[in-house]
């Protein structure tokens, strides 16, 4: 449709790339490949059985666990501890975080405290927790609650800070009460940040299960792992670790689902 007086060439393409694409099943393939290599290595002997358990043995350990009903006997106390502890830690954390976000005075007083609390290893405090909360479930709940509390606080007040100030000014300009603004603007606006903080908090909660069950727990995935570890029973150790890892992936998926449902309004 035109008459170029010189050579006509297509415009060279130089775009594309730098855009993450979803490729399905590669993750699964990598995972299966790793398992297969471990199986092969342990069977062929070039991976010593001190180094890694044979994946099929881990699987059969897991099946034993399931068949004997021990799986539930270990899983249920752990899930209870995780649930109670993290519900405690997360709700108090969100409450404190919102208050820090709203009141400069509280912020000035508590933020340094939380920052100082964060890098304290919770296992270091185990002996104290026994005195404070006893050796029964109390100290386990408390440990998980403390572990989930600090990251939740940090995520929550960050989320409150990130609520679009123009929305708040809008609320004020329409004469909304302070409480209305908090309830209808600040809290929903902070929700995405709080939920993504929850991801980290719950992962930490799962990690702390093992520490919590160091103390006087007969049943529980953490106790199971500890026992297996101290007996150098790698099959059981890995079975337990796989359960925790699956638990972590699962909670993360649940949060993803909640986000999808509750935050459908996001762009």
């Amino acid at each position: 449709m035109s008459d170029p007086n010189a050579a006509t060439t297509p415009v060279p393409f130089r775009g594309g790339g730098f855009k993450p694409e979803r490729i399905r099943f590669v993750g699964l393939a990598v995972f299966l490949a790793l398992v297969a290599i471990a199986e092969w290595g342990t069977r062929a002997g070039w991976i010593s059985n001190l180094t890694l358990p044979r994946p099929s043995d881990v699987l059969s350990t897991f099946r034993d666990l399931y068949d004997t009903g021990l799986l539930w006997k270990h899983l249920i106390p752990s899930l209870t501890r995780l649930a109670v502890g993290s519900v405690l830690g997360v709700t108090i954390g969100i409450g404190v975080g919102v208050i820090i976000g709203l009141f400069s005075m509280v912020r000035a007083g508590l933020v340094p405290l939380v920052a100082a609390l964060f890098p304290i290893p919770k296992i270091a405090l185990l002996p104290l927790f026994v005195i404070w909360f006893g050796i029964d479930e109390g100290s386990k709940y408390a440990l998980i609650a403390l572990g989930t509390f600090t990251p939740t606080v940090v995520a929550t007040y960050g989320a409150v800070d990130n609520v679009d100030r123009t929305l708040i000014r809008m609320g004020q300009s329409f004469g909304l009460s302070w409480w209305s603004i908090v309830r209808k603007i600040v809290l929903p606006g902070a929700l995405p940040g709080i939920l993504s903080g929850l991801r980290i908090s719950l992962a930490i909660g799962i990690i702390l299960l093992v520490a919590a069950e160091m103390l006087g727990a007969q049943y529980g995935i953490g106790a199971y792992i500890l026992e297996a570890g101290s007996l150098y029973d790698l099959e059981r150790l890995f079975a337990g670790v796989v359960i925790l890892s699956a638990l972590g992936v699962l909670t993360s998926a649940v949060i993803g689902w909640v986000e999808k449902r509750m935050l459908a309004w996001r762009i």
């Binding site: 005195i131 006087g216 101290s230």
Partner: protein
Amino acid sequence: ANTKVTVGALAFTSHAASFVAYERGYFAEAGLEVDFKFFQAAQPMAVAIASGDADFGVTAISGGLISLAEKGATKVIGGALSEEKGIDGQKILVSDAAYQAGITTPKLLDGKKFGITQSGSSFHYMGAKMAAAEGIDLNYIPLQKVPAVIGALKSGQIDAWAIVPHIAKPLAGSGAVHIIGDVADYIPDYQVTSVFTSANNAANERAKSAAFLAAFAKGAADFNAALVDKTAGDDAAEEMVKLVHKYVYADRPYDKAKPGIVNGAMRINAGAALNTTSVKDQLDWFIAEGLIKGHITMETLVDPSYVETM
């Protein structure tokens, strides 16, 4: 009129006296309704007694126990496991690598790595006493838990360790480690474990504590007769092993568990008598090492009014 009592225990043969007293109804006879609470390690058990989560326990005299006593929380009220010449006691072990390198007596351990669970644990004490007697220096490696020490010793990452016979013998049998000495040679009449309770029980619940000790002593007597002195005959021994097997190595078949239980049988002091000389020696050692505060005395740690002392 049964008094409810919580007894802290580890699933070890050294706690057998309590198990026997429970199974044979000695606690019930003494008017105690006993509830066992099992622990993975002695340290949390001591803390649990301090916090009131458990009433009585049996454990080695560790730095943690002394510290809790210093804070007015716990008291030693009786003795349990003892080293005794002639009865198989705790052994000094070396790794195969060290053995092959020519370390065949404790004297040759100078500068070597000696496994302990924690500073201030009984392993630390045994190593230190042995080193002092031999005039050598040891390098103490804390590994938190007994199984970790076993693993490190087997793989040659540490050179030596000292441990009760029922663990030492099977290990030596497998050839991965070698027994090169007896703890009893260095610490005669060593009071390995003791019975302790909260300071409140010791001072204000005398009846309960005395009842516990009495029942405990009965259990200990049965145990000694069956497995240590072997005066009760083979049947009684067999029965005793079966009883203990309910609590110790419960996850192993009886045949496999039996040697462990039999080998682990060390004397539990008659009448829960307490060897205060040995306790004093241990206390002095802790103070000398700077592991505990220097002002702690025997009175702080021990309530000698319950049992005979030696």
